[in-house]
């Protein structure tokens, strides 16, 4: 039987190695273009937002409560691995969420075609573009607690929240206890609580202390943060589904030291991005992104966790917002930024449109993975489990607009060919938009003022 000889195999390696060299030495192409818009988490009304900071087994979770109803009805129940001390609980700043959301939001970048007649000028321009591119009021009878199998391990008032850390032996007892305590919890809670009780997890329960809340002077609830150590890199999302009506959105901002974060028990997929869209999308980027997200999620039957952004937080290109300052990162829960270490990122308001990576500093990196998922109780049967990969390849949900050169088709010999190309490009853009969003292709064409591309036969091109 013929087998490749060793010589042939080595030749194969040599060729592959040459390819490797060629690939490795290709210059890293910087994104260029101008940032023109973003689609942040505010677009998604029902979205819960969580900042998950993790290094080794140290974890800091920040939860943003976008609670709209009567504050006395607010209740938060989170399974935690151990009894948290008061010092492990903190009230965060809602601005941190806004900043991190703005920094990592899907974005629109815009380019203007150069004059096709002026090749040398175009080269100069390309060069330039590359260069810049609740206190629980009454004490409960401990006998009653015991009868229900619930132990109140600790009670704290932190900020506007009354917090109790509970351990329980029996889920019906815990559900009953919560009701007796005045927590408005949805029916069926005991079934959802049971697996956590049997894993010996504790429960972090919070509600609003209205008197303390009034003192803060805020009309909204501030994020709750808690820090703990645990082998489990996960988010218990199942409890949150109890009172869900229809699909829910969750945005997770994972901050890590080494690389991209992904889920281990669901598929993690990068959203379709870096495509050219019709220029009219500029005015309705939010609408576009909502449609894209819905269409893509539905296509995957709501069983996919989407990566919207992954970047070293020291820079961005193009920047939807300035990178977070060390203080802001600390506020988000990043605990590995030494006080005497050089600054990470650039202070807000001072960053250039494209902040450059840190060079030669002793600063430790902060990687941000922005994950977004839309789910229903059926499509997310198991809590989200995560892992930090070693992947450091940047990714952003970035969409591109290319404005055509506004010149005359008769300006030079190259001009007609250029306009032919533009026509083809616009048709391509229309099809991309229709495919990504599920919008009607003919309506898109109408909005772009283009007709459906006439089908040219091969012989027409032959004797043209």
């Amino acid at each position: 039987m013929p087998y490749p000889t060793i010589r042939a195999a080595w030749l194969f390696v040599a060729v592959a190695f040459l390819l490797f060299i060629a690939f490795a030495s290709a210059p890293a192409s910087a994104f260029c273009g101008f940032y023109v818009g973003k689609a942040d988490a505010k677009l998604f009304n029902e979205a819960s937002q969580v900042i998950l900071v993790r290094d080794a087994n140290r974890t800091v979770i920040s939860m943003r409560n976008d609670f709209q109803g009567d504050l006395s009805e607010f209740a938060l129940v989170v399974p935690v691995p151990a009894v948290l001390q008061k010092s492990q609980i903190h009230i965060g700043d809602p601005k941190t969420f806004e900043r991190i959301d703005a920094y990592s939001a899907p974005r629109l970048a815009e380019y203007f075609d150069p004059n096709p007649c002026d090749v040398s000028r175009r080269e100069r321009q390309m060069g330039a573009m590359n260069a810049a591119p609740a206190s629980i009021a009454k004490e409960l009878d401990s006998k009653k607690d015991k009868a229900l199998g619930v132990t109140v391990e600790a009670r704290y008032t932190v900020g506007e929240y009354d917090i109790a850390i509970l351990s329980a032996t029996e889920s019906n007892g815990l559900e009953k206890w919560l009701r007796l305590e005045g927590y408005r919890i949805p029916s069926g809670a005991s079934k959802a609580l049971r697996p956590y009780i049997r894993q010996n997890l504790k429960f972090f329960v919070a509600r609003v202390n209205l008197a303390e809340q009034a003192k803060t002077g805020f009309t909204y609830l501030r994020p709750l943060q808690f820090a703990f150590e645990s082998e489990r890199f996960m988010l218990p999302v199942r409890l949150g589904m109890l009172n869900a009506k229809g699909p829910q959105d969750l945005v997770v901002y994972a901050l890590t030291r080494n690389g991209r974060v992904e889920t281990t028990n669901y598929r993690t997929v990068k959203l379709p991005a870096n495509v050219e869209l019709p220029t009219y999308t500029r005015a309705e980027f939010g609408k576009f992104y909502k449609a894209l997200f819905e269409t893509q999620s539905k296509r995957e039957d709501y069983r996919v966790v989407w990566t919207e952004y992954f970047w070293d937080m020291a820079w961005c290109d193009p920047c939807a917002a300035d990178p977070l300052s060390p203080e802001e990162l600390k506020g988000a829960g990043v605990f590995w930024l030494g006080g005497d270490e050089p600054a990470i990122g650039v202070a807000p308001g001072t960053a250039p449109p494209i902040a450059s990576p840190r060079t030669g500093s002793g600063a430790q990196p902060v990687m941000l993975t922005r994950l977004h998922l839309r789910y229903t109780p059926e499509t997310l049967p198991e809590d989200l489990m995560f892992q930090e990969t070693q992947d450091r390849q940047n990714f952003q949900a970035r969409y591109v607009l290319r404005h055509a050169w506004k010149g005359d088709a008769g300006a030079c010999d190259a001009a007609p060919r250029y306009f032919d190309e533009v026509a083809k490009r616009r048709e391509r853009e229309a099809q991309t938009l229709a495919n990504l969003t599920g919008w009607d292709l003919n309506q898109i064409r109408a909005q772009m003022n283009i007709a459906a591309a006439p089908k040219t036969m091969w012989w027409e091109r032959l004797w043209k």
């Binding site: 087998y3 592959a16 697996p195 028990n265 598929r267 997929v269 059926e378 892992q387 990969t389 070693q390």
Partner: protein, 337 residues
């Protein structure tokens, strides 16, 4: 000449390749294509090309170095497919390096004439522990039941052909049984069980990695025990230690048990070329008489236990991709006499 459906069937069977690895390569290539095209694997075509180049070159190097000549490249192709399916990296050099380590391990890490580790398993573990910028995405296949059915079918064909179906089914049963036990104990929803059953990574591991006949115990009893141990270790890794990649770690950690089990329960070694022809002396009888069924030649890195019948330059390479008729099959028979 008479025609009967039975003779037609056997003729058709004759036409099909006897070597299970041919099917394995076909299906792995199909899965790799599916993964890249439909499951958005973050895999660069050049990474696959380099993995194959390095893997095949390493195989060629060792065959030449050890004078093994015409032993073929099927196993190397299987390993490179496996590495491409499992390993992810943001560099180009991780895949070829892992392939080189994996293929070399087959020639260097040998006990009693069998290579110790499943090369793809060792390659992946070596890469994620030693090489920067590498990882495994256990969720990359998703939990799609339709895909699961396909994997189940293709996997069954390969493992049936390789005559090692028992380990796959026992492992799958044990793993899903333990998941079910956990669900009952914790009072979780059965949807989790279905979610696990649809896990493409689990099925791929079950039918294309743990079933590798060269790196599992030779006899059925120990093989079943081994499957149970790997399943229990994987569950422990996943649900007690809460670490990712439970399956490949469990297999890696349990592998040293294989030579031990083979030593305690000697049995018929595996050959890729198919079962013994009718009339040959049953090896099982020989093996149970306590005589080891594998022999090791001089110059081979493994300890030369019972190297009494080494006549050819390389008489006993049950774990190699022996495309030439193996002389090994004759030896235990000779010893039995």
């Amino acid at each position: 000449m008479t025609f009967s459906p039975r003779s037609a069937m056997s003729a058709a069977r004759e036409l099909l390749p006897k070597d299970a690895r041919v099917f394995q390569i076909l299906f792995l290539a199909l899965l790799l294509t599916t993964g890249v095209l439909l499951r958005d694997f973050s895999l660069h075509p050049l990474q696959v090309a380099l993995a194959f180049a390095a893997g095949l070159a390493t195989q060629a190097f060792w065959l030449k170095r050890l004078g093994l000549g015409q032993r073929g490249f099927l196993s190397a192709i299987v390993t490179c497919c496996g590495l491409s399916l499992l390993l992810r990296s943001d560099t180009l050099w991780a895949h070829p390096l892992a392939a080189t380590l994996a293929m070399s391990s087959k020639f260097v890490l040998r006990i009693h004439g069998k290579h110790l580790y499943n090369p793809a398993n060792l390659g992946v573990i070596a890469a994620i522990t030693l090489l920067p910028g590498t990882w495994v995405s256990p969720g990359q296949w998703g939990n799609d039941l339709a895909l699961a059915v396909w994997l189940l079918m293709l996997g069954t064909i390969v493992t049936t052909r390789a005559r090692r179906l028992d380990i796959s089914w026992v492992f799958l049963g044990a793993f899903l049984g333990l998941v079910a036990l956990r669900i009952v104990l914790l009072g979780q929803s059965w949807a989790i069980w279905w979610h696990q059953l649809g896990n493409g990574a689990l099925l791929l591991f079950t039918f294309f990695m743990i079933s590798d006949p060269m790196t599992i115990p030779n006899r059925r009893g120990p093989r079943i025990a081994y499957a149970l141990i790997v399943a229990a270790a994987a569950i422990g890794w996943q649900y007690l230690l809460f670490r990712p990649n439970a399956l490949i770690w469990a297999l890696f950690l349990a592998t040293p048990l294989v030579p031990l089990l083979d030593r305690l329960f000697a049995g018929e070694g595996f050959s890729w070329r198919g079962p013994e022809p009718a009339g040959s002396i049953p090896l099982r009888a020989c093996a149970t008489s306590g005589i080891p069924s594998t022999a090791v030649a001089e110059g081979w890195p493994a300890p030369a236990r019972s190297a009494t019948t080494a006549s050819s330059s390389f008489p006993a390479l049950p774990s190699l991709t022996s495309d030439a008729p193996s002389s090994r099959r004759a030896q235990p028979a000779a010893r039995c006499r």
